[in-house]
Each structure stands twice: as C-alpha cells, then as structure tokens.
C-alpha cells in the first residue's frame, strides 16, 4: 500500500441518494405532463418550457458567478425543476420576453436573494409565476384553447379555464347549467382527466400528473403527507359547500381536477425547501393550503387559488417548523 489512508469521522457508509438525483427524479416525474401538454398545445408548449428552463439555468449561473461570486452549482438540477415548474404554470401563448422575466424573478428574487438552493422561504417558481400574474394580469389570464399537436405558437386561440368560467357565472346560473351550456363549453371529467382543457401548460392532464406522483412516491422523492392532505382538504371543503348548495358550487371532483390543484399539490407544495420538515407539520401545511385554495377559488377575486395558497403557507412554514417538532424519543414516557 503506497497511498495514505483517508481518515474521516463516522459514518463511513453513505446512501446512494443525492440532490441531483432527487431533482432529476422530479424532472422525470414531470415528463408525462410535458408530453401531454405538447400533445394538446403543440410545439409552443415545448418552446415556452425550453425558454423557461434555459433562462432559469442561465440566470442561476450568471448570478452565482458574477454577483454572488460563488462556485456555480447549476449541476444540482434545482434550477431546471424551477424552470420546468414555472413554465408549467404559464399559458402557452405568453410572450417569451415575459417567460424570461419570470425566470429572472424566480431565480433572482425568489432564490438567489436568499442565498440559493435551500435557503429560500418561498417557492421560487411560484414567486416568478405570481410576479408575472400580478404584473401582467391580461397576458397571464388569456389562455389558449387546446387545439392539438400542430398548433403553432401564434395561432393559439384564447379561451378560458374551466375555473374562470365557473367564477364568472356562479351568480348567473346554477352550476349544472354552466356545465352543460354549449356556449361555455365546459370540459367534462374525461377531458379533465386526459387534459383537453384550457389552462396553464402543465396543469391540464390529470392522469399525467398522477403518474408523476406515483413515480415520486415510489422513488421516495416525496412522501404522501403534503399532496394527500391538500387534496383531501379540498375535497372535503368543496364537498361541504357542494352538499350545502349544489346550485352554486361545483362538485369536489371537478375542483380536484381543475386549476392546477394537482400540479400545485404534487409538485409545488412539496418543494422541500419551502415546506415544513416534520410529518405533522406537513399535514398542517397541506390542510392550510387546501382551505386557503378553496377560500380564494370560491370567495376571492381570482378563479385560481392554489398558487397563492402555497405561497401563503410557505410564509407560515417557519412557524410550523418552530412549533411542530417531531416527537422526540423518550419525550412522553408512557411505559408499561
């Protein structure tokens, strides 16, 4: 033996999991949704996604290299996830300049200002998305109609999302009628499931999102706590409203499958950095998101509530972490 021995503190054995692997895992989980959206919105969807991902990565690199003067860490893949998820909650016909601006805000304001990966209290992609939403409400609320694979970037016809149609019409007619009004052309459950509806890039195909969820659960990238508690809360809350007054409220299933709820609950609320650390905390967080989502959807000005709900609960995450601790071993002594 001629080389020197390596000495390090224990443990000497490490698991195979790594940050990039987790991040690329999320990318893989998002692939089906991307395919579905390309199917319905055409190459424009791919264009928006690529621009978003590439500009997120480039901004991360530039900021780390030239402003923070740190070793750029774009290899960890987190900027790619941010880029993907940002694109997934934009309309496909958003001008590319705005996509780039959104990436800048997501990475620059949402992430790097706080010191980069792991430090940001708010979900960067959502910071970018909500920034755009509040800055350019017109562009951000004109949704393309799914026209199939061959739609090009420019000829997307603008339509409305199912939730905005609902929001518009609650006061005018009973929900039944909205659903069946030919002029409003609300998508039915199967369209919702397969993704043929207006909306952001990545929120349309329920089946693809659920596929991704299954993958992430199996790979143990995330645990069930956050998505399940959000979805259950929304189901229960909208269920109560619906039972109380089916005339004025859509049924829970409809709520679950529309408006980016799945996208948010599965991929965005679960962002490690901005969600609580303990299992109990995760459930409280999920319930909070669920309640706020329904409140905003049903009583607020915006037809869509998940994004705001997640950001709001992000703000409460440190408090949850502070007060909800994992139960310590030997804390409550119940012996017998």
């Amino acid at each position: 033996m001629n080389k020197l021995l390596t000495v390090s503190p224990s443990p000497h054995e490490y698991s195979k999991e790594s940050t990039p692997k987790l991040m690329y895992g999320v990318v893989i989980a998002l692939a089906p949704a991307l395919l579905a959206t390309i199917w319905f919105f055409g190459w424009a969807a791919l264009l928006v996604t690529s621009v978003s991902v590439i500009s997120c990565v480039i901004f991360e690199y530039l900021i780390q290299k030239f402003i923070l003067k740190k070793e750029p860490s774009i290899k960890d893949g987190s900027a790619i996830v941010t880029g993907l998820l940002l694109a997934f909650c934009l309309p496909t016909n958003l001008p590319l300049g705005l996509v780039i601006l959104g990436s800048l805000v997501a990475i620059g304001v949402g992430k790097m200002t706080f010191g980069g990966l792991g430090n940001n209290p708010f979900n960067p992609a959502l910071v970018g998305r909500v920034f755009l939403f509040l800055s350019f409400p017109v562009q951000m609320t004109t949704w393309p109609v799914p026209k199939g694979f061959n739609t090009s970037f420019s000829d997307a016809i603008t339509g409305a999302t199912p939730l905005s149609v609902l929001n518009e019409n609650y006061e005018k007619m009973p929900v039944d009628q909205i659903m069946n009004d030919p002029e409003l052309s609300m998508p039915g459950y199967s369209k919702l499931f397969w993704g043929e509806m207006g909306g952001s890039l990545g929120e349309i195909a329920a089946f693809a999102l659920i596929l991704g969820l299954a993958y992430m659960l199996i790979r143990k990238i995330i645990t069930w706590h956050i998505p399940v508690s959000i979805l259950l809360t929304v189901a229960v809350f909208t269920g109560i409203l619906w039972l109380a007054n089916p005339e004025a409220n859509a049924d829970p299933l409809y709520h679950l499958m529309t408006g980016g709820l799945l996208l948010g609950a599965i991929y965005m609320a679960t962002d490690y950095v901005s969600s609580p650390m303990s299992k109990k905390g995760m459930i409280i967080y999920g319930v909070g998101i669920g309640i706020i989502t329904v409140l905003i959807r049903r009583f607020g000005a915006y037809p869509e509530g998940v994004q705001f709900a997640i950001l709001i609960m992000n703000a409460f995450t440190p408090l949850i972490n502070n007060y909800i601790k994992p139960s310590r071993f030997g804390e409550e002594v119940k012996n017998g």
Partner: protein
Amino acid sequence: MLKTFPKGGVHPPENKISAAAGIDVLPLPEQVTIPISQHLGAPAEPAVAKGDTVKAGQIIATSKGFVSANIHSSVSGKVFKVDKAVDASGYKKMSVIIKVEGDEWLDTIDTGNEHKKDITLNSEEIIRKCAENGIVGMGGATFPSHVKLSIPPGKHCDVLIINGVECEPYLTSDHRLMLERTGELVTGISILMKALKVERAMIGIENNKTDAIERLREFTSGIDGISVHALKVKYPQGGEKQLIKALIKREVPSGGLPVDVGTVVHNVGTAYAVYEAVQLNKPLVERVVTVTGKELEKPVNVLARIGTPVSNLIEFAGGLPDNTAKIVNGGPMMGKALANLSVPVTKGTSGLIVFREEEARRKETGPCIRCGKCITACAMGLEPYLLMSLTEKGMHERSEKEKIMDCMECGSCSYICPANRPLLDYIRLGKATVGKMIKERKQK
C-alpha cells in the same frame, strides 16, 4: 410482523461478507500494546514497570474509581516499556508494551475448553468477578459491566436484554459468537440474570441471522425465562434505547438510563466474557474481531489477543489490497477510521473494515435542501439539519433546547442526507460544546 423500533432508522447495504467464516484463532504477535484506558470512565493505573515479566491474565493496570476497569496482560513476556502509543482514538495514550515470550497463563485461570454450566456464585460475587476481570461492554461503548450490573438503590430491574442485533453492516463477530459459543453464551446470560436478580432475559437478534436465532432458540428452549426474538433488519436497532423499545416497548426517557425503565442491556460478547470471567476466572484479554472488506482476500472472524497490532489481523486476512484507501475500526456507521496500522486491538474492537478507494471518500457537500430525510432517519426524533446549523452558527443554547444531547451518534442522518452534509460531524462538535456548558452550569 417482526418487532422493531417505531421511529426512524435506515437500511444500509448489509455486506455481511464474513458471515460464513468461522472464528479462527489469531497467532500470537511478537509484541502487544495494551492501552491502560480501554473503557469509558477513569483510566486504570499501570501496575507494572519496564522490565517486569508478566503472565497472560495478570493485572497490568488497576482500575481507579468505580467507573473504571482493570487491564490484564493478554500475553506472557517482558514489559518493554510503559509509554504513550497511538491507539484507535488517533492520539497517543499511555500503554503497556509487552514483548511476547511463550504463552504462559496465570494458574488461577481455567484454560480448558470444557463448558462449565453450574453457577455457584451469588450476585455480589458475580459482580465482583466481573470487576476483577476487567469486563466491559463489548457492544461498542466499553462501559464497565460491573457498574451496569450494580443496580442503583431505588431503581429496579425486571428484565435483562441481550443485544445480539449486530445492526452494523459488515460486522459478523457477534453472529459467529452466537453460532459457535452458543452454550457458553447462554450460561453467561444465566449468570447475568443471577447478577441482576431478574427472572427474564430477552435476546434480540436481527432477522438476517436466522441461523443464530434458530441455534439460540434450540439452546434456550429448556431454560425458563430466556426468550429469543427475531427483529426486523433496521439500523440502529442495536442502540440500546431502540432495542428496548423494540423488545419491551418501553421508552428510556431523554437523558435517562435503561435502568430507569427497569432493564439492563448487554451485548452477546459481554455475556460470553462474563461466562469466562465467572466460570473460568478468565479476564478479558481476547475478543472476536471481524476483519473484512470487499477486496480483502480472505474476510475472517478472528479471536485476537488485546494489544495485537491491527496490521497482524489484516495480514491474517490476506494483507492489504492495493486499492485500500481507508481502514475503519468498528462498524462502518459508528467506527473510527485509522490513520495508522500499528494501532492495537482493544476491548472495544469489534471489526476492521478495509475500504476501497471508491468507497473511502465522502461525496461533495451541498447546501441543505431541507428534504427532511435526516429527520425521518433519526431514531431519536431529532432534527439533525437544525442541530448542524445551530452548531455552525454557534447557537448552542438553542441546540441544547433542541435536545442535541439525546443524539446517540448513530450516523443515520449523515448516511441518508442527499446533500452529503457532515451532519454528525457538527452534531458531535455541538454535543461537546453543550456538554461543556452543562458541566459548567452544574459546577456553579
């Protein structure tokens, strides 16, 4: 469903390469280096001087204080010097260095191989025998066993737990011991029960050692009060608090000891050593050591004399492979890396693992992504990521409140962390600082 502890835990690859290798007796070395402190507590005081001739089993350092243990010569020969020598701690410690001449044992020691089953001594005598013969815990902590056997007044103990878990990957010494010295081990357990005056003993063994479980079940089937329990394979099942929780569902309170919940935990190796000490009057001068590694020619379990240089054991296992980059004394999760092969085997050496280059180095550290995996992994219900940050930022008061002292340094958190954060490194640092703070506070 197999029993296990409910909270936390990880499952590293088991790598029990040497499981099938029977216990070989290691040839005597030319020289042994016996540190005078091989246990937790006060170091013993040297009782021999340079030039003295000693026999195997003779006391060469006497215990000082209650929490301390005698040190015996493991060989016969001449004391070469009493001086500082590097031990597994990585620093030089006072040691007795003996040049080996022949293999002569003290007459009082029964060196025969016969299994002596009858227990003639009473509780106090057993404890005294353990103390005299320098028995310490072989499970890793090397806590003097007579201390653990002396139940403090006001406390009581109703069940003895025998730790045959061996949850560390690679290690097989306890496994082989359970297979090859089963009878003596069971007698040792009975002795411990008598010492503790308990009616019940439970042996916990992880389910990856089914042969040992069966063999022990066979040997204990006729004995009242001793039961064998198969446990789910999960690290750190061998941690005594986890084992207690898994077997009898009691939770040792934070900062408390097993006796607080009416139990005492002993390692199988300890039980065997107690058998030898009580029945054969043989002090603790040798132990089973696993020598293993993926590239090693001949992974073995050897019975080695205390003080034998580590290099001898490795030679016995076929010598160091070319791409060796790290040697760990103990298990891969809790063991200490050695900088030097002249380090001696001590009472706590359960294994030597030879790592290849690709296994030896840590991966690059990234920022904490707050994935919470370390929390999920921690069997003590701590928040390792937080404890590390608090220590880094010098916020020790808060880490005390976050129960940093409960950490048993099992390493599950560092193991699992996808960002490869040196969690345990910092937690240890924090524990040291907080420990000092607590001590100072008590002094006032």
